[in-house]
């Protein structure tokens, strides 16, 4: 408390009032946090287990739930590595080279952040849906994108595109291109330089970005909802599965599936905090958030 360090008699009113106010603010935020975050989190687990552990396990082991989990893993398993690769490539271009249209590229990378996920899903329907631009051609050639895994992957990629790139760009800009230049003069090839110099220098930030990207990919609802078609056991990812069950008044099933997503969130949070704690200096996040 600042009151202890203030000389006696100097501005006694503000010195005593400020800590009191700070204390009130802390209590207020704690209450808000409890109501808005902890209580819902508690509700999820409470309702999931409301009919006992057996019922909980049953609804998780149900074929549609397993299919939804598999699909979620598949979709994020495809889109996260792709976005990691795109993100590294984009960050590398932007941070290490000067070229025309750099700021346009930067803005484009940010676009998914400022766009409603529903739009990110809808664009694919407009392109590849039955009535879309390429719809007839796709039907003629028997290629299914909308209401299929491909569509889910596309929608997820679009929504989660900025996570890795945004994490890497400030860090790589900070590090500059001198180490790469040094490696080249020492006789390393471009590829060796990338694997031995560039990648090790960004590994923790990359992991951090991948973590956030994965959390979003697995939890994405809006964009995938548009392209999914909600075919049970076929095109429902875990978040969509929650919605389907909830609309069917299967509350235990819905909350059981939701508890899996909530756990994913908690694991992500722990890993994220651990990374921030161990490798603070190598994460751009600390300068941005």
């Amino acid at each position: 408390m600042t009151a202890a360090t203030t000389p006696a008699g100097a501005k006694p009113i503000s010195a005593s009032r400020l800590p009191g106010l700070a204390f009130l603010l802390i209590v207020a935020s704690a209450v808000v946090m409890a109501v808005l975050v902890l209580m819902p989190l508690f509700t999820v687990f409470h309702d999931a287990f409301s009919k006992g552990l057996g019922k909980y396990l049953d609804s998780i082991r149900e074929p549609d739930a397993l299919a939804a989990m598999r699909l979620t893993l598949l979709v994020s398993g495809i889109s996260v590595p792709l976005n990691a690769a795109f993100g590294v490539a984009a960050a590398w271009c932007i941070a290490k080279f000067e070229f025309r249209g750099k700021s346009v590229l930067l803005t484009l990378i940010d676009l998914p952040f400022s766009m409603s996920p529903v739009v990110s899903g809808l664009v694919w329907v407009l392109l590849f849906g039955a009535q879309g631009w390429f719809g007839t051609w796709l039907i003629d050639h028997d290629v299914k994108i909308i209401f299929a895994t491909t569509g889910l992957v596309l929608a997820t990629i679009l929504v989660t595109f900025p996570f890795v790139a945004r994490e890497l760009i400030p860090l790589m800009q900070d590090q500059g291109a001198d180490e790469e230049a040094a490696a080249l003069t020492l006789g390393a090839s471009g590829l060796t330089t990338f694997w031995k110099i560039t990648l090790p220098n960004i590994r923790w930030a990359l992991l951090y970005g991948v973590l956030l990207c994965n959390a979003r990919a697995m939890g994405e609802f809006g964009a995938v909802s548009v392209v999914s078609g909600h075919i049970r056991g076929l095109t429902t990812t875990l978040p969509l599965h929650v919605e389907v069950l909830y609309n069917d008044y299967d509350f235990v099933g819905a909350f059981a599936a939701a508890s899996l997503l909530a756990s994913l969130g908690l694991v992500t949070l722990v890993l994220k905090t651990a990374l921030e704690w161990r490798h603070a200096g190598e994460l751009a996040a600390n300068r941005r958030h």
């Binding site: 001198d178 180490e179 230049a181 040094a182 490696a183 080249l184 003069t185 020492l186 006789g187 390393a188 090839s189 060796t192 031995k196 110099i197 090790p200 220098n201």
Partner: protein
């Protein structure tokens, strides 16, 4: 110190040209960084590129390394077309201004990097790499710090690691970008001598970039002075210091006093002082330059520029004398014995530049 990992300097054909730069131009967008620069370096020569910031010296160094491609011109090294060669094949050892050590590698790993990334057929055996790294570590006097990471080293130590790393590949040419830029004055002077020793022992053509004229004159065999992307003068330290090509070089290489004057025939007139103009001096209005320590003090009835002493400051044998000459306050330097007794503030005297240099008035 064991230096058997370095190529030994052979003595034959010491004046053979090794580096030939001709007509190099390079622009960044609309900014011309280098304008038609041509210069040569002899085999095993220590060449300094000296200039103020923005003079293009670092760009030239990066062109030599292959990190920048010039818009026009040619670079040949030992007769080979260097520009056609990618960076990695040029075998130039480069020490970057901020060292660019690999931060996730130890000192040993940093030094060994250039050897380990070689193709298997050209890569030395592991034991040989270890030996060579040890030799280099002792050359740069860092035997005990091999396991440290760059972040655990001081500036001077990092600089020596960067040099060892560059030498590890047995470079055909050594390029140093402001090698002492980030070090304090004391460490700087020590490393300067040591770097010259390493160069002499390694026998590699070395090009180094600096903005510090004292460093360049002290260290290099020849100095190339650049300004605004143009080569102003190239010569030995003595040549450029004694015979600066233009006012910029004169001014850049050391403290300078500057007075307006007029040349008519073989007579030079500066204020009320008249003297013989050097042969071939430009006619008409000129600028006269002289070094503050190359003056003779004379009584008012002698020859020279009339002036008045404003201040005298003595530091050991060196005396700084501030004189008002023709409305201009000149800071002159003298050694104790060369200063006549009785020079004190308020004294009127005459100052005679001993070796005035005459340049035409810049247009």
């Amino acid at each position: 110190m064991p230096v058997n990992s370095l190529p030994t300097a052979d003595t034959d054909a010491p004046s053979r040209l090794s580096l030939e730069i001709s007509g190099i131009s390079k622009s960044f967008g609309r900014f011309p960084a280098l304008k038609n620069v041509s210069l040569q370096a002899k085999d095993k020569e220590f060449l300094a590129l000296l200039g103020p910031s923005g003079s293009g010296k670092t760009t030239l160094l990066r062109v030599l390394a292959g990190l920048e491609q010039p818009d026009a011109g040619e670079v040949r090294f030992d007769g080979e077309d260097f520009l056609a060669m990618p960076v990695r094949r040029r075998k130039v050892g480069m020490v970057f201004q901020h060292y660019a050590l690999f931060r996730h590698m130890t000192v040993v790993q940093n030094i060994a990097f250039g050897l380990k990334v070689r193709k298997r057929s050209e890569r030395p055996a592991k034991s040989e790499i270890d030996d060579r790294v040890q030799n280099l570590l002792s050359l740069v006097q860092l035997e005990d710090l091999g396991k440290r990471f760059p972040s655990q080293l001081s500036g001077g130590q990092r600089q020596r690691v960067a040099l060892a790393r560059a030498l590890a590949i047995e470079p055909r040419m050594l390029l140093l970008d402001e090698p002492f830029g980030a070090l304090d004055a004391q460490v700087r002077r020590e490393l300067r001598r040591w770097l010259r020793e390493v160069h002499d022992r390694a026998g590699v053509t070395t090009v180094f970039v600096t903005h510090d004229q004292e460093e360049a004159l002290d260290l290099a065999d020849r100095v190339a002075i650049l300004k605004d992307g143009e080569l102003k003068q190239l010569g030995t330290p003595n040549e450029v210091y004694e015979n600066p090509a233009d006012p910029f070089v004169y001014d850049f290489l050391g403290a300078a006093c500057r007075m307006p004057g007029v040349v008519a025939g073989n007579r030079l007139t500066v204020a009320d002082w008249e003297t013989v103009a050097e042969k071939g001096a430009p006619q008409g209005p000129v600028e006269v330059f002289f070094r503050p320590d190359e003056v003779a003090f004379a009584p008012t009835d002698g020859a020279g520029l009339a002036g008045e002493v404003k201040a005298v400051a003595q530091r050991g044998p060196d005396v700084r004398v501030e004189c008002l000459v023709e409305g201009q306050l000149l800071e002159l330097a003298a050694h104790g014995p060369s200063l006549p007794a009785g020079v004190a503030p308020g004294l009127a005297l005459r100052i005679k530049p001993l070796r005035p240099r005459i340049y035409p008035v810049a247009g």
